[in-house]
Every structure is written in C-alpha cells, then in structure tokens.
Symmetry: C2
C-alpha cells in the first residue's frame, strides 16, 4: 500500500496520491462542488496505512519528541519520507517554522486548572501557520514555487510569512474591505496582494480560477485537503505535550470548521493507532453574529446568513467545512456554543489581565464559552483545553474597544492622587 | 562569601545583597546621581563568586540545557537558591515566561550565513521580557506585589504582560505623547497606566519619587540593576544554543545601552568562568537621529541632543547606561554604527521579505548595520549575530511607510492582468 491515499468525505471514493497531487486536484472529481454561499462538497481527507504505522512505531517514541516540529514524525504526514523536500531543506529553515515547545500551558480559572494550546507566538502569530507550513512543504515537494490563497486576512498573512521563510512566492487574494492592519501584514512579507473588487466569495472564486490557469498551488482553506491535514498538527502537539494524557473537552474557535475537522482527524488517528482510548469532546464555538454551525445543528439543515462579529476570523456565513466538521462533533459527542460580542470583549480582557496573554477575538470566544461551561456543566480539574489561536496584537481594533483614553496628569496632581502632599 | 554582591560601576564600592535589596536601593548610595539629560552615575552591577561556580559547575552542564529558561541555572542569577520565589512558584507559571527554545536561528545574507537571536516571539514580543522576568521574580522574592516603571512603550508593555503572567500588579508611567498602539498594549494587560503630562524624563522622575514613597519595586531601565542583569540572559541563550561556539561579532540595537551592558556582562562572566576563550565584538547600533553613543565615542565626552527616529525604542538623548555600555565596547574591541531612517525601512523590508520575520525598526537598524559591515569589513561565514529585539506588529506605523494602498480590481481586470483572455 502507498503511504497515504485521498478519500472523499461525501461519496467515499478513494484516490491515489498521484491522481490528486500530480493534477493539482483539490476536491473530489466525482462529487466536489463549490457553490456561492454553500459549504463545500467533496472535501478530500487523507488516510494512512495505520496498521503499518502501528507496527513500525510506538506511542512512547512520539511522546518523547518535542512539540512544535511535525516533521519529526514524518510517517503521519503526506510528505514522502525520502522526498527531496524534507531532506533537501535545511534544518535551519525548518527551525524557522517551528512552533514553541511550550505551546501547551496550564492556567487556572476560579480555582480550576485547565490547559491552553497557545498559538499566539507562532511565526506569524496564529494557528493558521500549522496549515500554511504543511501546504508550503508540499509545494516545495511538488516543485511549485508559487502559492495562492483567498483570505480575509489571517490565513493570507500566515501564508505570506511562511512562504517568505521557506523561499516561496505567495499571492493573496483579499476582499476590498480588508482591514488596514491585515493588508499591511500580508504586503510586508512580500506577498503579491491581489485586492479583489468584491467580497471574500468573489476573491475565493477568482483565486481558484487563476490558480488553476497559472498552475499556482492553491491554499484556499478547506478546499486544499492539506489545510485540514495541517491543522491536525494541533492534536499531536496536545498529545505530545500532555504525554498522552489528553484533555476531555476542547473549546475550538469555529468559522469554516477547518480547525475542528483537522483536530478531530488528529485525535481520530491516535485512536485508530491505539495510542489514546477515547476522543476529547470538541466544542465548536461561534459568535452570535456568525452562528451557522449552531443553526445547522438545531435545524438539521444549512441556511446561509451573513456573518458579522468583532471575531472576524470566525465569521463564515457558509462554513466551507461544515459537513466534516459536523461529523467531528457527532463522533466526539461534541456540541456547539455561542457567545455574544460583549462576552468576547470581556473574555479578551480577562485573559489579558489574568494570564498576560493578548488573544484575538476568536480565541476570546473560545475562552468565553469555556467559562460558561464551567457554570453549567461539570468541568473537572485539568479536563478542559482552550485553543488560543491568534495574537491580539495582529489587529488592535478589539483591544481599543475596552481600553479608553485617559487624561494626562502633572506631577503635583499625581502626588495628590497617590496621597503624597 | 555570599552568593552575590553589588558593586558600583563608577566608584567600585561593594555592597552586600541585604544592604541594597532590603532598603530598595538601586543606584550607589555613595556616588549615584540622576540628572536631567545626563547618563546615570553609580549604576550597580552584580558579581557572583565565580571561583565557587567554577568549582561546582561545568560548562557542559550549562550547554546541555534548553535555551529560554534562565531559572534552570539559578547559580548565575541574583535569586536565592532555596528561596521561596523559585520553589513556591508553579512550574507552569515559569513556563508562561519561557522564551522559545528556537530563539537562535541561522539565516543567510548574500550567500553568507549568520545568526539571529529572535526575541520577536517572546511573551510580549520583545527582548524587554528578559529584564521584566528577572525583575518580577525578584519582586516576588522580596514579597512586593507592585512594580512601577517609566517607559516610552516597550518596557512598559513588557512589564505589564510579565506581571499579569506572574500575578503581580504593575504601574507604568508614560509620557503624554505615547503612540496609541503602545498605550493600548500596556492597558490591556491590566497595568495601571499613569499618563504623565510631560516627557519621558519627567515620567522617569515622578515614577521614582512615587515608587520610593509607596514602596513599589521600581523597574526603570538601567536604574534597577536587575534590568541589566536580566538582559545578560541573551548572552547565555546564545552560549547554550551555540553549544559554546559563540559568534565573533554581535549587532546590538542601542538606545540607553542596557542590552549592550547586559550582554557584555554575560559574556564576561562566561570568560571569567573559563567557559569561553574570547569575547565577541559588540557593535552598538544607533539611528542617525539618536546617535549619542556615536558622538560620545568620537568626541570623548557626552553631549545631550534630542533623539528622533522611526526607531523610537532606541531613541535616547541621554543614554542612561552610557558609561558601562561604553566599557563594554572598549573591552570587546567593539564599535558603534549609525544608520539612517531610510536604511532602517529598507532593512525592515528586506528581513520581512527574505526571512518572513516582521521586526521593529530598532532591530532593522541592527540588521542594516550588519549589511553595511559585510560590505566594508571582513565578516566570515557564521561569525556574525544580529539581535532581533522586537516584533514589528507591536506598532505597524513603520510598516505602513513602505506598504502602500493598492487599487481593487474586478475579476475581468484580474484575468487580463494575468493574461487569461
């Protein structure tokens, strides 16, 4: 058997690596569809020869590694063991895309300990680097030097930064309304910024069309199977850091559902390998202004609605990975949670003040949901983990909301204020 | 002999730990002076019983550690081995102030390899965390819960973030003209922001006066000896990462001269211990608009001039640690270098585009100086190291300067642009 195959989530058809990769196919050729304001159909997921892995590797070997460097256990990634990518690339270039070995941290909330997976100190300060890194290494392996993606900001700046680190070119298609800070980050890394006169959907479509015509490797989220695969890295970093003792419940900021799908995939593989006994419950956390998952689970069918929230990186009117992400919720006895923008601000403030970590609103949403669960559901000590997926400094608009201007004081006024007359 | 003593840089008088720490003394009681627009006099430096350390520890033991966790070799730090700070503090809290184990990275410039010490992924994204962490642990040891500092931005947000991580309170005194992004970062961490109706010097003075009256521990840079001591951590991370094979020349962004003094102190200790044979040449890099060191070395005497540059974190009209930093240059056969704001922008752009690292202007200055040295002086392969002291995302004003707005294009225009008609 080959090291890995591609399998359609919807119709179950299996494809060899070459069928998919050589032709730069991303969705299932049989049933894949991209429709405006609808989730994708025909998302391909990668499967390995788990029996062979189980035979050749032991969990102790994986647990002995440092987190933050997925290429150390190449047998679980869609890169050839003996390919030129991993071997020809300089160790120091891989160091440049390493994540912190201390990404798994213990915090305490009202006397109860919990963990975070801290992706706020990644190369471009977000979880997206996990997907961008795998996609970029695959492009190197395929001998393609240009990668394109549509993005509302974070995925684009991640791709731009990771490409610059690995010597690749990137083209990022963004909607007209992109916030200035995000535009500047993408441009700074030397990416070719393509400002599309339209919304994210239009940017998505034209990016696909041009990628296909120009043979750029495409990193559109959920569409390229490696964006899901890359995000399973989070599950392995949790497994390695926790020495196999994985959390019981994980709060996941959820927009398109790609992190959710990727995390589940990682844990499911670990279960398949017999290296863990149970799956953690995954909680898909959304903002009230962008709650497509919540509504889908309630009504049993998808309905499009525009998404608007301060947590813009989880705003998806049509979550592209809705169906596989929903499967992740079903299989893990998971659930959805919804928080308001006010709760998001409060959580951002709480985390900054109590833990000294500036997180972006999507991560605050996950923390807010965790705090609500501690009130209503049984969360035992150290059973929960919250994903901190992005650094709050990437765009300080949310922080501005709850930090107000103050008036300057003269020394005599200050002395009076502090009781020194 | 006690584990460590304090020694005045200027008059050489020696003080016991208790004489200094119990009374919260910072400058030499005999000769210390703070004068407006002048460097400090009477800076205290810490000395250890190097003979005892040499007897009890071997360099192989130090080199076997992971970088980024200075408390692992407590014998080289002014914290009691058996004190309650290190022992009572939870390992997970120390993890929260750990730096990346991959902070020492190899890059290539025009075919020549060099190293960086990458502090852009620190807890608050700057080198200042090295000083703040040591100061905060000392405050915990002294049983003081409030730390105050005057700051133009970075030191303040670092102190605020590290204090939040360790459960301490911070008060940051800032000048009226502080940029909005820096103010928001300090406030976000829950620091008490004290906006002083005046400049940095006035903030420095009133912060000292109130700290003394209210018995807050003071973290004013250069003034508190632990700000210098904390920055020696950089030298040890280089030593550990390089397995003792330290670089020959180091480019140091220089404003007050505290990083320079601290780095030199670390390397000098390693020399004293016999764990390295020679000192690296230290290059104090300044912006043309704030070149007090350059002028001091040329004229042999200090003259105040206001400092203005895009590299605001190295703008010091009167470098507070001028005299010990100058000693560092003399003892290491070091030098100064001066770069223009245009060169700073160019370097920032080069680093972002070629290495995928967004650095702040002060770090770009150091990189710019390195590139100039490669043109005029002999820099052999792997002999140079550049300090990347801060993340460019903390304040994107400089990035804005060279990333301009672009016009949106419709799909038909994009197809035409890429030759798809």
């Amino acid at each position: 058997m080959e090291k890995y195959i591609y399998k359609c989530f919807d119709c179950g058809k299996v494809y060899s690596k070459d069928e998919i990769e050589k032709e730069l196919i991303y969705l299932c050729p049989l049933c894949g569809t991209i429709e405006k304001n609808k989730p994708l159909r025909g998302i391909l997921l990668i499967e390995y020869d788990y029996q062979a892995i189980r035979k050749n590797h032991r969990k102790e070997e994986l647990m002995a590694l440092k987190p933050g460097k997925f290429w150390q256990y190449e047998y679980l990634w869609p890169l050839e063991s003996h390919d030129k990518t991993i071997l020809q690339i300089d160790e120091s270039q891989l160091d440049l895309i390493s994540l912190s070995a201390d990404c798994f941290q213990k915090l305490s909330y009202h006397g109860k300990e919990f963990h975070i997976l801290d992706d706020t100190r990644n190369p471009t300060l977000s979880f997206k680097d996990r997907a961008s890194s795998l996609v970029a290494l695959k492009a190197l392996q395929l001998g393609i030097k240009e990668i394109a993606a549509a993005s509302t900001g974070n995925a684009g700046s991640s791709l731009a930064g990771i490409c610059a680190r690995l010597g690749l070119k990137s083209k990022v298609f963004v909607p007209r309304q992109i916030p200035e800070a995000k535009r500047i980050q993408i441009q700074s890394y030397g990416s070719e910024l393509v400002l599309v006169d339209g919304d994210y959907d239009l940017a998505f479509d034209i990016c696909l069309e041009l990628s296909s015509a120009k043979r750029w490797y495409n990193r559109n989220t959920a569409y390229n199977p490696l964006t899901i695969e890359g995000k399973k890295w989070g599950a392995y970093d949790i497994f390695i850091s926790a020495k196999g003792n994985i959390p019981g419940i994980i709060f996941v900021p959820t927009g398109d559902g790609v992190i959710l799908t990727g995390l589940y995939k990682g844990f499911h593989e670990l279960l398949e390998l017999g290296w863990i006994d149970t799956l953690p419950r995954l909680i898909a956390v959304q903002a009230s202004g962008g709650n497509a998952f919540v509504r889908y689970r309630q009504n049993g069918q998808f309905e499009y609605a525009p998404a608007v929230s301060i947590a813009d990186s989880i705003c998806a009117g049509a979550p592209r990975a809705l169906y596989p992400a929903n499967e992740a919720l079903i299989r893990t006895s998971g659930d959805t949670a919804e928080v308001s923008d006010d709760e998001i601000y409060e959580a951002q403030k709480y985390v900054a003040r109590n833990y000294g970590i500036l997180i972006e609103p999507s991560s605050s949403a996950a923390f807010a949901a965790f705090t609500k669960f501690t009130e209503t559901e049984k969360i035992t000590n150290l059973s929960a983990l919250v994903l901190f997926t992005g650094n709050g400094l990437k765009d300080i608009r949310a922080l501005k909301n709850w930090n107000h201007d103050i008036s300057p004081l003269r020394p005599d006024e200050l002395k009076k204020k502090y009781g020194l007359e």
